[in-house]
């Protein structure tokens, strides 16, 4: 249905090989904490609150992997926010594809979704549940709200037939194995972020 719109973002991240002081690193640090589960309030991002401080956010994408309260899979921060909390947070059972990951969130798509936000993307329904929301991308149809699970095609809302909601987009709320695409418009928006507010990351 949206074959012509689906596009490879060609945005790659790599594990850091040098830490902020220039020493070799695996790009992974592990921090012991007394906090049993972190809330969605940035506490994992500071040593003072039981987490760990970010590496310089103009040179590194920081990903905090931890236990989260309330069954939340992850949360992000848009470009232009405070440096001290910049990056993405992901529930440990929804990070990557191996080990303790649990279906249906075991294909690494929570990171795809959160990094989408980090690069300036909005939810596909535009964050209002009444068809008035806007994701500021012209090639994604309007949608009334989040789709969950593995929806049956089509999911028609906001007079968006015959194709309905683009629920298979990484910026909807479906299961990992049900989300497969960014659109050209979304990739253009991410590239604009990498040429603008996050330009110090590009080409590192």
């Amino acid at each position: 249905m949206w074959k012509g719109l689906l596009i490879d973002a060609k945005i790659d991240f790599a594990l850091a090989t040098k830490d902020p002081s220039g020493k070799p690193t695996t790009g992974i640090t592990r921090t012991e904490t007394k906090v049993t589960a972190f809330g969605p309030d940035d506490e994992v991002k500071s040593e003072r609150t039981g987490g760990v401080d970010p590496w310089p956010t103009d040179r590194y994408l920081n990903m905090w992997v931890c236990q989260l309260t309330g069954g939340l899979l992850g949360y992000a921060q848009f470009p232009g926010g405070p440096a001290a909390t910049d990056g993405v947070v992901i529930l440990y059972t929804a990070f990557g594809t191996r080990g303790v990951t649990q279906a249906p969130f075991n294909k690494g798509r929570t990171a795809t979704h959160e990094v989408g936000h980090y690069l300036g993307l909005r939810h596909i329904w535009g964050d209002r549940n009444d068809c008035s929301g806007d994701d500021f991308v012209s090639d994604t149809p309007k949608a009334k709200g989040a789709n969950m699970g593995k929806p049956k095609f089509p999911s028609i809302t906001c007079k968006n037939g015959p194709s309905g909601d683009m629920f298979m987009n990484y910026m909807d709320y479906v299961d990992d194995d049900a989300m497969v695409m960014f659109t050209e418009g979304q990739v253009a928006r991410m590239n604009a972020t990498l040429a603008g507010p996050r330009k110090t990351l590009a080409g590192l």
């Binding site: 939340l72 949360y75 529930l91 959160e114 909005r122 939810h123 209002r128 989040a146 699970g149």
Partner: protein, 95 residues
């Protein structure tokens, strides 16, 4: 009817929306909407914000026959739900 109701979207069927008490053992989710209906007619709704962290909004609720009417404060969109079924631990509504 008052108390903290959380959308158990895994249990939805067709256009029926299933809510459970906050103490229900919910599995992980990208986001989950809930509302806390207070006896004084006010409510607090928590729903996924633009970067997935839950955000709170407030309003007033009332039961008009079988309709649960939730009027949001400010420019929020609010809801009118048709109540299909209610038990101690399970509330089923339609949009």
């Amino acid at each position: 009817m008052h108390g903290h109701w959380v959308h158990s979207h895994e249990e939805d069927t067709g256009d029926a929306i299933v809510l459970r008490r906050a103490t229900h053992p919910f599995p992980p989710s990208r986001g989950r909407t809930s509302f806390e209906l207070h006896p004084d007619g006010s409510y607090v709704e928590m729903s996924p914000g633009p970067v997935d962290a839950p955000e709170a909004s407030t309003g007033s609720w009332s039961l008009e026959g079988d309709r649960l009417v939730m009027g949001a404060d400010g420019d929020g969109s609010g809801h009118v739900w048709n109540v299909v079924d209610i038990a101690d631990d399970r509330l089923v509504v339609r949009d």
